[in-house]
């Protein structure tokens, strides 16, 4: 059991600020490693200390394992929090931390190996009796043609080393398979240095539902599920908890499967098991396990009252979980909107720039996680998320109504954001009914154009 006194945060933006918030509450010091472009960011100002890792491009700063380790050691940190994205699921960082006597606030290198490669992760699912989408790896067109007959069309080609929707291709018929396969393998090679791909059935009416896992290595608990079906090009836009209109048996099946999976691989830390829910067949399939805190963790915090970052730190210190499954009570409903600096009227073009005003008042049930302040600069080098608005309500309708109020009341000026998209989604009868699938947003977008 090691008590952490100073955390090196190897991340940026709102999650750096989020981690600092909990560290301050726990009395833990923070050192934030920033790129030169983020030297004046809110996180850099709030951290006990900030150090410049390198120039703006991520590959020269946020993605450098050696630099992060060197900076953490050189500033006297005893732990490293990787946030999400960047190096958060990088086995090399976790291993280097172990080698250098730093506590990695995340799972073990072995855990990362178990879930890092889609194929390995899938084989663990099969072993843990967690259902997977029919499919498999292919190396040649012949392989692919044979498997496609078994799986059926439409199907998806995914990069084995991919993630976050990158490198996915949908194939609707046998005719287009050869060309798409070629392209997918070439892209996978270019993007991940690994040409391996696999094919799987494309579930046409599917919901993205994921389960929050908490494990101290002995006890594996879940903190309910989240529905993240509102996606654009595989990027989540709106998330909520619990998943609305999910039959109880299906929900329980998901929760049990997630715990089974995490238990099977001996997982220890926060993590999320993602599923595709086949609404038509009332079935679900394992997608992947994310071995880090998720962007959308606040909706779970809102309905459970837990501080997931505090728990993640406590687990990393070697503490046993301070609760049992029965101590985790779900109450009410929470929705999260990802506010991005992008122009929905111009095909979601990113709109970096200088923020002139940022005002997120304390409305009832509203939580805002953001690194925005008047004068903040949104550099063009990183993702365009500038704030997460999270509303809680005793019912789903009230959580939605509060989000609509928050979108009207909050002010973020100087840049263009996707707030109009969130207004449209939260006012849309289909979304308000609850339980849309992952094709929903793609269908809503053309309608927005008509009304605009």
């Amino acid at each position: 059991m090691a008590s952490i006194r100073r955390i090196f945060i190897a991340n940026r933006g709102e999650i750096a600020v989020r981690i600092i918030r909990t560290a301050r509450a726990l009395g833990i010091e923070t050192v934030l490693g920033v790129s030169a472009a983020d030297a004046d960011s809110l996180g850099a100002k709030l951290a006990t200390r900030a150090v410049v890792l390198g120039p703006a491009p991520s590959k020269d700063s946020y993605l450098r394992v050696g630099t992060v380790i060197e900076a953490a050691k050189g500033t006297g940190c005893d732990a490293v929090h990787p946030g999400y994205g960047f190096l958060s699921e990088n086995r090399e960082l976790a291993q280097a931390c172990a080698d250098e006597g730093l506590i990695f606030i995340g799972p073990s290198p072995d855990n990362l190996t178990a879930v890092g490669d889609k194929l390995t992760a899938r084989s663990h699912a099969v072993a843990a009796q967690v259902p997977v989408v029919p499919g498999g790896t292919v190396e040649t067109l012949d392989d692919a043609t044979a498997l496609a007959e078994e799986v059926g069309f439409p199907l998806l080609i995914k990069a084995v080393s991919g993630g976050g929707g990158k490198g996915m291709k949908r194939v609707d018929d046998a005719k287009s398979l050869p060309a798409q396969l070629d392209m997918a393998m070439a892209e996978a090679e270019a993007a991940f240095g690994d040409p391996r791909v696999y094919l799987e059935r494309f579930v046409t009416v599917g919901r993205h539902v994921e389960v929050q896992i908490l494990s101290d290595g002995d006890t594996v608990l879940h903190a309910g599920e989240r529905d993240c079906s509102v996606q654009r090009r595989y990027q989540k836009v709106v998330e909520e908890a619990p998943a609305p209109n999910l039959p109880d048996a299906l929900r329980q099946g998901l929760l049990d499967a997630a715990v089974r999976y995490a238990t099977h691989i001996g997982y220890r830390s926060l993590g999320t098991v993602e599923f595709l829910v086949d609404v038509e067949r009332s079935e679900f399939y394992f997608l992947e396990m994310n071995a880090r805190v998720q962007v959308e963790h606040p909706v779970t915090e809102a309905i459970t009252g837990l501080d997931l970052i505090a728990l993640q730190i406590a687990i990393a210190e070697g503490n046993p979980l301070p609760m049992t499954q029965d101590d985790i009570h779900l109450s009410g409903h929470a929705v999260e909107c990802r506010l991005n600096a992008e122009d929905i009227a111009r095909d979601f073009m990113p709109s970096p720039g200088r923020v002139t005003q940022a005002w997120f008042p304390a409305l009832p049930g509203l939580r805002v996680d953001t690194h925005m302040q008047p004068g903040a600069m949104i550099p063009p080098y990183y993702d365009s998320m500038v704030a997460k608005l999270i509303t809680w309500g005793p019912s789903r309708d009230e959580a939605i109504a509060r989000m609509l109020t928050a979108l009207d009341v909050c002010v973020l000026e100087g840049i263009t954001t996707n707030a109009p998209l969130h207004r449209a989604i939260l006012s849309d009868p289909a979304f308000c009914k609850g339980g849309v699938d992952t094709t929903y947003l793609g269908g809503l977008l053309p309608k927005l154009g008509e009304n605009a």
Binding site: A36, A37, D40, K45, A50, V52, G54, T67, E70, A71
Partner: protein, 148 residues
């Protein structure tokens, strides 16, 4: 016509330095002078944050330097700065040494990898700013050189 001398600019600098201003831009014919006080960010950075971005050596070599005298040679990457090739050895450079642009002035170690750092500018070493064996950030001043 704009026959401002270096001495004049020196004087102006001192004047502005003692004033309340953060920025000065002066153009006279083909003369163009821009000054910004260090750390002129809207909100004063906390004590922990260092001076922002790195200055490329050629920019640093410009005659107008905010303070201190000489050009600051910034760390090209974060790591542990070593004055000498190995413990006990003579330092690469010391104050008073004359250096060329390609003279090695120190080593930055990152995870056992030793990266040699060159002066980037010819001149005379004024001061070794970063201590031996301690962490330097990207862009942090390592040594100061009076350009030749």
């Amino acid at each position: 016509m704009a026959d401002l001398t270096r001495a004049d600019i020196d004087e102006i600098l001192k004047l502005v330095d003692s004033s309340d201003f953060d920025e000065l831009k002066l153009e006279m014919g083909d003369l163009k002078l821009e000054l910004r006080r260090r750390g002129a960010a809207p909100v004063a950075p906390p004590a922990s944050a260092r001076a922002p971005a790195a200055k490329a050596p050629e920019a640093v070599a410009a005659p107008v330097v905010a303070s201190g005298g000489g050009s600051e040679i910034p760390a090209p990457l974060l790591g542990t700065f070593w004055h000498a090739p190995r413990p006990g050895a003579d330092p690469f450079v010391k104050p008073g040494d004359v250096v060329q642009a390609d003279t090695v002035i120190g080593i930055i170690e990152v995870m056992k990898l030793m990266n040699s750092v060159e002066a980037g500018i010819a001149g005379t070493v004024i001061e070794i700013t970063a201590p031996n064996g301690e962490l330097v950030e990207h862009g942090q001043c390592l040594i100061r050189i009076q350009p030749a």
